[in-house]
Symmetry: C2
Subunit: 214 residues, 2 copies
Amino acid sequence: MGRGRPRVPLLGADLIVREALALIDAEGAGAFSLPRLASRLGVRTASLYNHLDGRAEVIEGVRRLIVEEMDVSAFDTLPWPDALAAWARSYRDAFARHPHSIDLLATTTISSPATLGMYEAVVAALARGGWPQERLIGALTSVESFLLGSALDLVAPPLMIDPAGHAPRVPVLAAALESTAGGSKAGRAEEAFAAGLDALIRGLVVQLAELREG
Amino acid sequence: MGRGRPRVPLLGADLIVREALALIDAEGAGAFSLPRLASRLGVRTASLYNHLDGRAEVIEGVRRLIVEEMDVSAFDTLPWPDALAAWARSYRDAFARHPHSIDLLATTTISSPATLGMYEAVVAALARGGWPQERLIGALTSVESFLLGSALDLVAPPLMIDPAGHAPRVPVLAAALESTAGGSKAGRAEEAFAAGLDALIRGLVVQLAELREG
């Protein structure tokens, strides 16, 4: 940088979007608004519009940042069930780092090239694996629903279900919780995620086999 | 009611909790706070504490209201995979009516007798179906993650992925979206949910069969 340049980064679309993600991470999706974002950046709300078209473009930028943390490389080398599992893991981990963004992103339309490119990699691999075109979105949606829900679980409290004084009235539940109470909360969440993802992908393999027979 | 009683309902735990759910439904989980809730009820925040212990108890009451919309009756009559599917559908439908509550409830500890009772019905049926005690919470969590994610999908915009001008760069995705574009958005979400739930439960059946062999 030359002399006389400001030491703070110049306002631009990338900085705005990164600050939006920091705001959502710190205060939750409910706290996200353009005036609040502008205030964090020390600028007037109108200044944001010099760089971005508005709220929807900021949200789409936030999504891009999170998608960049996901890994589709396995689709180039592994059979679709294994590649789907590898991508799924990176997807859940990315959202687990930004749990407050889930509610916001799950309810806004996806349109950025980076995010579209990720979905293209997934559905193209499913198609190469034999999935019929009209079932691709359904298969993708199934997995994504599981991943979003799992990301929420990962940020749940250590003891999500606490029977406490009610244990005698819910004996099977209390015993089941007791038998999984060993180990860390992260370990239990990981175990549940791995087992659930395994079940879902096995089920998809069974469904595809039936589709191809039928 | 006798003469002289107020025509507005008297403040009580039930009324507070119902107003909390109405607030979350209308304005999102980020808007939920005890002062805001008190203001909607036309009382001082301190008055809420005459009826409830605080924020956590209000949230747990909101969960109870939503759980009361779910149906566990199938566990008494159907084999576990079918009963799980029936309960899952009622669970997703209940959260789809209160989508803003998902983020809040997924990250707070469950302790009310009504909610514990629902989980008891689910895990007791899985146990009767042959699931080992130490796998019950994992199986329950898998299904619940899928359900929470699906409820989010149900309230997503009609066109969740919009390739628009980028279609040539994402040809498989664009064609897949095109081939599922017929029919209503609700119909597509329902189809994806049904297929995903079917895959997950089939996968669980396969896992249980392996567990019992192993």
